[in-house]
C-alpha cells in the first residue's frame, strides 16, 4: 500500500519523491549551514498553507522575525498569509538561559498543540531542532525527546518536518544518526564549493514505504525559492520540422541540402581561432534576416567586442540589436555553477522569445563544475532546446584522443549536425579546413573545403588544394 503524500510544491522535488513528503509522518531535512533546509521547509509550508493545509513553523535557531524576513525575500507573498494559515512560534532559547539538568519537550509540545488546535494546522516544522537537542544532558535524553516529538506528531495526525544541521566531525553525529533512524523520510541538502563556485545538491537518502530516486540532483535558489534541476516539464514533444534553415553561408547550405532542420542541434567544433564563433554568428545573422529572435550567449567575449569583430567580416548586427531580434549576452563561466548557467539560459530564451539559442562555447560549462555534471548539463541543454522546438547552435573545443574527433561532453553524439574546422599547414601557411562530420537525415557532402574569411566577402568556402575526392554515399 503506497503511503499518502503531501506535495511540497518545490519544482522537481515532488517528482524525485514521487509525490512529496509522507503525510502524518516525519521528514528530516539535513544539511550544513546555508544548505537550504529552512528555505525548503518554508517553501513547503507556504505552498501547503495556500492549498488548504494551515501550518506552524517552530523556530529553534533563528528568531521568528528573522525567519519571516527570510521568507519575504522570495516571491511567495508569504506575508500575505494570515496568522491562522501560517503561524510562527519562537522557540529560541535566549542566550541568558542556563540549563541545569534534564528537561523535556512536554511543555513545548503543549504550547504548539494549542496553536495547532486553534488553526487546525496540518503541518508543523521544527527548524533547527538540533540546537535544542544539544542542550539535553545526554544521548538518552536526546533519543527520548526525539521519540516524543515523533509520537506527538503521529498522535495529532500532523505531518512533521524537522531540520537539523550536520557538521563534519562532531559529537552530534549520534543524535543526528538517531534523528535519521527515527524519521520516515530523510533529505540531504548540501552546498559545496567547487573552484570557488558554489553549487547546491539534494538527495533523498531514505523514504520509508515509498520508492524514490536515490540520485543526487542539482538545486537552484531563485526568487521563486528552491528548484531541483534535471527535470523537463511534462514532455513537450515537438513534431520534427521539415523546414531547412540557412546557416548564413550559402556554400555550407549546399553541403547540407539546403541548411539545417529547424529545431535541430548544430555543433561547431574547432580549436581556438578556427572561426567557430564567426560561423555561429553567420547562422544567427541568417535568423535575424528572417525576423526570428536569437539569443547569443558568449562565455568568452563581451557583446561590444563581438559586434565590432563581426562587423569586420561583413556582419553588422547593430540594426538587429536595435530591433530586439539579436541579444548578445556575455557571462563568465566561473561566475555560476553549471545548474545556474542552465537556468539563466532558459530564462534568456523565454524573455526574448528566441527561436534560436547560440552557446559559445558550450565547453565553458565544463569549467563550472566537475565533468560528470557538465556532461549531463550539455545533454540537458540539448533536451531543453529540443523539447521547446528551439534551434540550438553550440560551439566547442575538440578533444583529440588517438586521432579521433570528439568533443568533451559526448555532445557530438546528440547533435544533429556537426560542423568541424581544423587548421592545416600548407606551404608555410595555416589554412582552415571545413567539413561536415555529421548531418542527420541529410545527404551531406563529405568534401573537405577550405574556409576563408575576409572583410569583403565574409565566409567563403573553396575547394581545398589537396581536397580529398568526394565520396559517393
Amino acid at each position: 500500500m503506497e503511503i499518502q503524500k503531501v506535495l511540497t510544491g518545490i519544482a522537481g522535488f515532488d517528482q524525485i519523491s514521487r509525490g512529496g513528503l509522507p503525510r502524518h509522518r516525519t521528514t528530516l531535512l539535513l544539511g550544513g549551514p546555508g544548505s537550504g533546509k529552512t528555505v525548503f521547509a518554508l517553501q513547503t509550508l507556504v505552498n501547503r498553507a495556500r492549498n488548504g493545509d494551515p501550518a506552524v513553523f517552530v523556530a529553534f535557531e533563528e528568531p521568528t522575525a528573522q525567519v519571516r524576513e527570510n521568507a519575504a525575500i522570495f516571491d511567495w507573498s508569504a506575508t500575505s498569509l494570515s496568522d491562522d494559515k501560517l503561524a510562527f512560534i519562537d522557540a529560541n532559547l535566549s542566550p541568558d538561559v542556563v540549563t541545569e539538568g534534564d528537561f523535556d519537550f512536554y511543555g513545548l509540545l503543549a504550547v504548539i498543540k494549542a496553536r495547532v488546535g486553534k488553526m487546525n494546522a496540518k503541518i508543523v516544522v521544527f527548524d533547527g531542532l538540533d540546537v535544542l537537542l544539544t542542550l539535553l544532558p545526554d544521548e538518552n535524553a536526546q533519543r527520548r525527546e526525539i521519540y516524543r516529538i515523533r509520537q506527538w506528531l503521529a498522535e495529532n495526525s500532523l505531518t512533521g518536518i524537522l531540520t537539523a544541521k550536520i557538521e563534519d566531525a562532531s559529537s552530534d553525529q549520534i543524535q543526528v544518526g538517531f534523528l535519521q533512524y527515527v524519521s520516515d523520510c530523510v533529505v540531504l541538502l548540501t552546498n559545496v564549493l567547487s573552484e570557488r563556485v558554489s553549487s547546491r545538491t539534494l538527495r533523498v537518502i531514505k523514504y520509508r514505504g515509498s520508492g524514490h530516486s536515490t540520485n543526487q540532483f542539482g538545486v537552484i535558489v531563485s526568487s521563486s525559492g528552491l528548484e531541483v534541476e534535471g527535470f523537463l516539464p511534462d514532455e513537450m514533444v515537438h513534431e520534427p520540422s521539415d523546414e531547412r534553415i540557412s546557416t548564413g553561408v550559402p556554400q555550407i547550405d549546399s553541403m547540407l541540402e539546403g541548411g539545417y532542420y529547424r529545431g535541430s542541434c548544430v555543433l561547431i567544433s574547432g580549436v581556438p581561432g578556427a572561426a567557430k564563433t564567426t560561423l555561429a554568428a553567420a547562422a544567427a545573422y541568417a535568423c535575424c534576416e528572417r525576423g526570428e529572435p536569437v539569443v547569443f550567449a558568449s562565455f568568452e567575449d563581451a557583446p561590444e567586442t563581438m559586434v565590432r569583430n563581426l562587423k569586420t567580416v561583413g556582419m553588422d548586427f547593430d540594426p538587429f540589436i536595435d530591433k530586439g531580434l539579436m541579444s548578445f549576452h556575455a557571462v563568465r563561466s566561473t561566475r555560476f555553477s553549471t545548474e545556474q548557467h542552465l537556468v539563466n539560459l532558459k530564462l534568456l530564451v523565454e524573455q526574448h522569445r528566441a527561436k534560436t539559442l547560440v552557446v559559445d562555447p558550450v565547453s565553458a560549462l565544463l569549467r563550472s563544475s566537475g565533468t560528470a555534471e557538465a556532461e549531463d548539463a550539455g545533454l540537458r541543454l540539448i533536451d531543453f532546446a529540443r523539447s521547446s522546438g528551439i534551434t540550438l547552435i553550440i560551439t566547442s573545443l575538440p578533444v583529440y584522443a588517438a586521432g579521433t574527433e570528439s568533443t568533451p561532453m559526448e555532445v557530438s553524439t546528440m547533435a544533429d549536425v556537426w560542423l568541424h574546422v581544423e587548421f592545416v599547414r600548407e606551404n608555410g601557411t595555416r589554412r582552415r579546413h571545413f567539413s561536415v562530420l555529421k548531418a542527420r537525415g541529410t545527404d551531406h557532402s563529405e568534401q573537405v573545403m577550405q574556409l576563408e574569411i575576409s572583410r569583403e566577402q565574409g565566409i567563403r568556402l573553396n575547394s581545398a588544394n589537396q581536397a580529398k575526392p568526394a565520396r559517393n554515399r
Partner: protein, 112 residues
Amino acid sequence: MIVDTVMTPSGMGKKRDACDSAQNTVELRLHVAGEAPNSIAAYRNLMQLLSTYPGSKCTVEVVDCMGDPQCAIEDGVLVTPTLVRLSPKPNVRIVGDLSNPHAVARTLGLED
C-alpha cells in the same frame, strides 16, 4: 491536560516557602508540564534547595503550561521545566530539573 498533582495551574495559587526575615525577596516562577517526570523533579529539587537557605525570603509560583500554554509563551518559556527569577532583576532563567543545587543556588544568587 491538568492532572491532580501538587502543582497548581497558573494564577490559582501561590506557594510561599521558607520565609524568614530578609532584605530582598526573590520571586520565582516555575513553569512545569503537568506530571512530566522532569517537572516533578524540578519542583522537588527546588523546594529542597530553598529549604537549605532559611535566611532568604522567596516566593515560588508554579505554572502548569499544560493548563495554560499562553502563560508560557508570555514568559518566553517553551521547554519545561523552566525556573524564572522575576526579581531581583535581571531575569534569570534556568531550564532543567535543577538537579545540581549548588549551581542553581549560584545562578539564582542565593549564595552570598
